[in-house]
């Protein structure tokens, strides 16, 4: 039975010099934060405002309802090379309307984003483009005389790869939803 004062290591001598400071401030990678918030007016403004006044940059942002109408899910990505993620999440936690924040580790979550591309597609280009869409498992959602609108769903890497491929063909415009994410396994995110 564990008794007070018998925690492992607590009776070892302690050298002040050996104490280590908390986690490093910059992780150097993009973090996907899945934030569960109360579905109330102004909550997104509070989060966006917090980022703005603390000088944090939101890379992508997606907001939508959850299975419970009382809550919304905000998925946002932040560059951990530029911002101290632990400080970002601690500040977010202070918002009364924020219930839960999960910093999704790569590998433990699935991430998806939807993007729409309007691409020039006249004559010979059209066949090449359709082949590309097929490789990326995209869908053509609108066909015009000179352009196609294509939908691509996937990770942001996939979307960026597609963008790179079609840009030489004549990319008229692109719109992205921002990533949404969900943890793998049985437990809720």
């Amino acid at each position: 039975m564990a008794m007070a004062g018998t925690d492992q290591g607590m009776n070892e001598p302690l050298a002040i010099e050996d104490l280590e400071a908390e986690v490093g401030l910059r992780t150097g990678r993009t973090h996907v934060l899945a934030i569960l918030v109360e579905n109330k007016p102004g909550v997104l403004t509070r989060i966006a405002g917090l980022f703005a006044r603390r000088g944090y940059n939101i890379e992508t942002l997606a907001v939508g309802p959850t299975d419970d109408p009382g809550y919304s899910r905000i998925t946002l990505t932040v560059d951990g090379a530029r911002h101290p993620i632990d400080q970002v999440t601690k500040q977010l936690h202070k918002l009364v309307n924020v219930l839960k924040i999960r910093d999704l580790e790569p590998g433990e979550a699935v991430q998806r984003e939807l993007a729409l591309f309007k691409i020039e597609a006249d004559g010979a280009k059209r066949a090449e483009l359709l082949q590309m869409v097929s490789i990326f498992r995209g869908n053509v959602v609108d066909v015009g005389p000179n352009t196609l609108v294509v939908e691509i769903i996937g990770t942001n890497e996939k979307i960026e790869a597609f963008e790179e491929m079609v840009r030489p063909l004549g990319l008229v415009e692109m719109a992205r939803t921002g990533e949404i994410a969900m943890s793998r396994g049985r437990d809720a995110t």
């Binding site: 302690l14 002040i16 009364v96």
Partner: protein
């Protein structure tokens, strides 16, 4: 029952004795409800005065302050006190009127987006959209304002909803799924902290406003006395440790003592309780306390490792943690002689660099002497409030606060208009205590209108104006760092303070001689009611010592 009548019931259920405010169109229903609610309402003369009065009340009593304002300009006038309360973690509930719901978003008369304007500077805010929600919201607001790290909470009520009929069922149940501050410190971390303290050869305890907010002064004293730890406090925490004690180093930071700042600079272990390593404390961050490891106790996890990475973070209430830390530390039976060398070194600094100033050769009153005289005239037992500037720093340095909640000033935001309104709040909250304001002749003109409120309320507030005819702190910086190019700091055209006091119906006095100053001050303090005293002091005295902005503590000057 009207929503506003339910609001009054909720205030009473929260134990509110007094509110500060100023009515307007959008708060007419609220003020109608005040008519027979049986709650003391103090009519301030400017909403900013109301906000600072509520802060002064909260700081002196430890209770949640309450301030009312109307929509539009009423709300915008509250922006400064709201931000002030946020920066200094003061629990205040602000309740503003709003235009009626069908006018919202149409730029109606006296409409402003109060929630939007104040969003970055509140702990939380609520816009009432269904009058039925008002009672629950009021209790939530009080809970949020007063618990965890205290702060301002705002409720904005559209005027049509405030007079709507609701089915009021008394409830104080608060359900906030996203809000549950950690108060209990982690036992393992506390034990580790005790062990680190027992192994430290050059420890310093650095206490901040969180210790005052947690009413943990006794626990702080116990920890210091569990061994012979040297202790310093921030501007916000003065009084949390008695200033006449041997272990007291004086305040730390920009205008702190050399003993406190040098001790931080050479420490091997710093225990920070309820402070936030503000830039006025650290000076140049990269050279702050270069040899130290940090134990950081705070109820707000976001403060831990924000500016200075913590080696032993402990999240929770300072009272809870410090009392348990004392027990753990005592159980280790550390050898106190390990501190001999360190305490000797500190003693050396205290002897070599005491707070000092050159006294005048004639009867001119040096500002530092004015504070020493005030200490003597009040036996060091007054509640002292100040504005911001040199007079604030001299008061912090020289008054020597014996107990917490005796010192009320604007630390984080540095709000000039803080003095009389906060003294008004303190005097109403603590009617049996002597309340004095130390003012600068620059600051005092901001919110001086609250003298009228002091008169109307019949409070005993004594305002001592440290009159040097300058915006002194700015003048000092211009002299020291801007080649003495004095720009817009000379307060020529200041009023006759004695006559001004008399115009308000208060007693006015003027003191010019140091020989009689203590007796003169006693006379002022013994005079009933509100007294305004013009104390003529040396014009161009500087506040020393000082860490020049952006430099490390060891580069202190003066």
């Amino acid at each position: 029952m009207r929503a506003v009548d339910a609001l009054m019931e909720c205030l009473k259920a929260e134990g509110v004795e007094v509110v500060f405010g100023l009515p307007g169109g959008a708060s007419l229903p609220t003020y109608d409800a005040f008519y027979d609610a049986g709650i003391r309402h103090v009519l301030v003369r400017h909403e900013a005065g109301g906000g600072h009065a509520a802060e002064g009340y909260a700081k002196a009593t430890g209770k949640v302050g309450v301030c009312f304002g109307t929509s539009g300009p009423g709300a915008t006038n509250l922006v400064t006190p709201i931000c002030d309360a946020m920066m200094d973690s003061v629990p205040v509930v602000f309740i503003t009127g709003q235009v009626r719901t069908d006018l919202l978003g149409t730029d109606g008369f006296q409409e402003c987006d109060t929630i939007g304007i104040t969003m970055p500077i509140v702990k939380h805010s609520f816009m009432i959209q269904d009058p039925q929600d008002l009672p629950k919201t009021v209790h939530e607001a009080f809970h949020i304002a007063g618990s965890g790290r205290p702060g301002p909470v705002l409720i904005d009520i559209p005027v049509d909803l405030s007079k709507a009929d609701i089915d009021y069922q008394p409830t104080e149940k608060v359900t906030l799924p996203g809000y549950s501050p950690t108060t209990d410190g982690n036992q393992k971390q506390i034990r580790l902290a005790a062990k680190a303290l027992a192994n430290a050869k050059r420890p310093v305890i650095y206490a901040g406003g969180g210790v005052v907010n947690a009413n943990a002064s006794e626990e702080l004293i116990s920890l210091v006395r569990a061994d012979r730890f040297p202790v310093t406090c921030t501007l916000m925490a003065l009084g949390a440790y008695p200033a006449d004690d041997d272990q007291w180093l004086g305040m730390l930071g920009m205008h702190g003592t050399r003993a406190a700042n040098y001790a931080m600079d050479e420490a091997d272990l710093i225990l920070c309780a309820g402070a936030r390593f503000d830039d006025r404390i650290t000076g140049k961050l990269s050279e702050f306390a270069p040899h130290a490891k940090f134990i950081h106790i705070d109820i707000d996890p976001a403060e831990i490792s924000k500016n200075v990475p913590a080696h032993i973070p402990i999240v929770g209430d300072a009272k809870n943690i410090l009392s348990r830390l004392v027990v753990e530390y005592r159980s280790l039976e550390a050898d106190s002689s390990r501190l001999d060398e360190w305490l000797g070194r500190i003693e050396g600094w205290k002897e070599k660099y005491p707070l000092a100033y050159e006294d005048s050769k004639d009867s001119e009153i040096k500002p530092q002497y004015m504070i020493l005289a005030l200490h003597e005239a009040t036996n060091g037992e007054a509640i002292v409030t100040s504005y911001v500037g040199q007079h604030q720093m001299w008061t912090a340095q020289y008054y020597g606060f014996p107990k917490p909640r005796r010192w009320s000033n604007s630390g984080g935001l540095g709000t000039m208009g803080f003095g009389p309104p906060s003294a008004l709040g303190a005097a109403i909250g603590c009617p049996d205590q002597t309340v004095v304001v130390v003012a600068g002749d620059g600051s005092v003109q901001m919110n001086i209108q609250e003298l009228a409120t002091c008169m109307q309320e019949g409070v005993n507030v004594k305002v001592f104006i440290m009159n040097n005819g300058y915006l002194g702190m700015v003048r000092q910086w211009q002299e020291l760092f801007w080649e003495n190019r004095l720009s817009a700091v000379d307060l020529e055209g200041r009023p006759d303070w004695v006559k001004l006091a008399e115009a308000y119906g208060a007693t006015g006095m003027q003191f010019t001689a140091k020989e009689t100053l203590v007796d003169d001050m006693r006379r002022a303090i013994e005079t009933p009611g509100t007294v305004v005293v013009d104390v003529r002091v040396t014009r161009d005295e500087n506040t020393y010592p000082m860490i020049p902005a952006g430099e490390p503590a060891r580069n202190m000057v003066g």
